[in-house]
């Protein structure tokens, strides 16, 4: 029998991931690039969003993608077709990217190009509205997608994801005439859990809403150039 002792730690449960995320962030800031963590449920349109935004912005910004996928290279192949460097990160059984996986992706990216030449690094997370919200990867901004086909209740059912997002993109709005869903109600629910987030309504099929979304992106890119430390990790 030993004498009972107690240490008070007060440590973040995810401190190990947080330390790696901060390390990634130091690299992003040293390279002077904007890192975006793009998250949503499966099928909300992350890859379609990237296809359209990468094609539209490639003349303005130098970009690359770290593409998280549990098992396949299908999304990475779609994005490679746009002509942007893509590093696939196959997560296996893990349902989210963590900072160590992104660090591994950065090493592979570094073998192909000089990251300091990039303006924006996109990280497409694994399709999941739960786990990615809790695992920082060192990103400057979290972008969450919610398609109109998912219904208006998702921000209330998965509030942590929408609370954490700096920007929420309501996607597939071209389908609204065919759905019994109220987009105003979707946006109201998003703002109920996160009144400070930016919200845009988009269609990757028609291009609706992309101009405003890209303007927001430009502003974030400028903010990193001006003062990277003002943006949260």
């Amino acid at each position: 029998m030993h004498m009972p002792l107690e240490d008070t730690l007060g440590l973040n449960l995810l401190a190990a991931n947080q330390h790696r995320a901060e390390h990634n962030r130091e690299h992003f800031d040293a390279w002077n690039l904007l890192c975006l963590n793009v998250m949503s449920s499966p099928g909300a349109g992350k890859t379609s969003l990237l296809e359209r935004s990468l094609a539209a912005l490639s003349g303005r910004w130098a970009m690359a993608v770290l593409e998280g996928d549990m098992t396949t290279l299908l999304d990475a192949e779609r994005l490679e077709a746009v002509g942007i460097p893509v590093v696939p990160i196959t997560t296996g059984r893990a349902c989210h990217l963590d900072a160590a996986m992104v660090s591994g992706g950065l090493k592979l990216l570094h073998q192909r190009l000089d990251p300091a030449a990039l303006d924006i690094l996109w990280v497409e997370n694994v399709g999941n509205l739960v786990c990615p919200a809790e695992f920082a990867i060192g990103e400057h901004r979290k972008v969450a997608l919610l398609s109109v086909t998912e219904g208006d209740d998702k921000p209330l059912k998965y509030p942590v994801m929408f609370r954490e997002a700096d920007c929420v993109l309501i996607t597939k709005v071209d389908l609204l005439p065919h759905l019994p869903v109220d987009v105003e109600r979707i946006e109201a629910h998003i703002r109920q859990v996160n009144p400070r987030t930016a919200v845009f309504r988009l269609s990757a099929t028609t291009g609706e809403g992309f101009e405003a979304w890209h303007d927001w992106l430009d502003a974030q890119r400028q903010a990193v150039q001006t003062s990277p430390t003002l943006l949260h990790a």
């Binding site: 030993h2 004498m3 009972p4 002792l5 107690e6 240490d7 008070t8 730690l9 007060g10 440590l11 973040n12 449960l13 995810l14 401190a15 190990a16 991931n17 059984r93 893990a94 349902c95 989210h96 963590d98 739960v130 786990c131 919200a133 809790e134 695992f135 209330l156 059912k157 509030p159 942590v160 609370r163 629910h189 703002r191 109920q192 859990v193 996160n194 009144p195 400070r196």
Partner: protein
């Protein structure tokens, strides 16, 4: 499923804590966590993954004790605190304001570790010599 990865992070933190006590080997009785209800963590699942993960390791036999921290919001209009509820859209009942400020409920914290040290032979006080039998 992410409780497995959270357990892995927790084990790494515990390993770092153990290093602070080197070369002595702490025997951990309990690890106390504070887990907010506005997180993506299912406490029961975390306890199960912890129990499985520590089997056969230096933490074998330790107990994970989780204190649940309720979600509390503060209405930025009237400054009243309230318990945000999904059924009410997380709005404040006083002013129907969106959930702007969170007071508690986002905690994912290792609060404390209860442990001890088994007395090593070097620390065991010498036993009193037995009296020699009278001749």
């Amino acid at each position: 499923m992410h409780e497995v990865d959270m357990t892995r992070c927790l084990l790494l933190s515990m390993h770092e804590w153990k290093q602070q006590h080197a070369p002595r080997e702490p025997h951990v009785d309990r690890v106390h966590l504070e887990v907010g209800t506005f997180t993506c963590v299912e406490p029961d699942q975390l306890v199960v993954t912890w129990s499985d993960a520590v089997k056969g390791t230096w933490l074998d036999g330790s107990e994970l004790v989780i204190e649940s921290v309720p979600l509390v919001g503060r209405c930025v209009r009237c400054q009243a605190t309230y318990s945000p509820d999904a059924a009410d859209g997380f709005r404040s009942p006083c002013c129907q304001h969106p959930m702007e400020e969170i007071v508690s409920g986002r905690e994912l914290r290792i609060r404390s570790v209860a442990y001890g040290f088994e007395p090593s032979p070097a620390h065991v006080p010498p036993t009193t010599p037995r009296p020699t039998a009278a001749r």
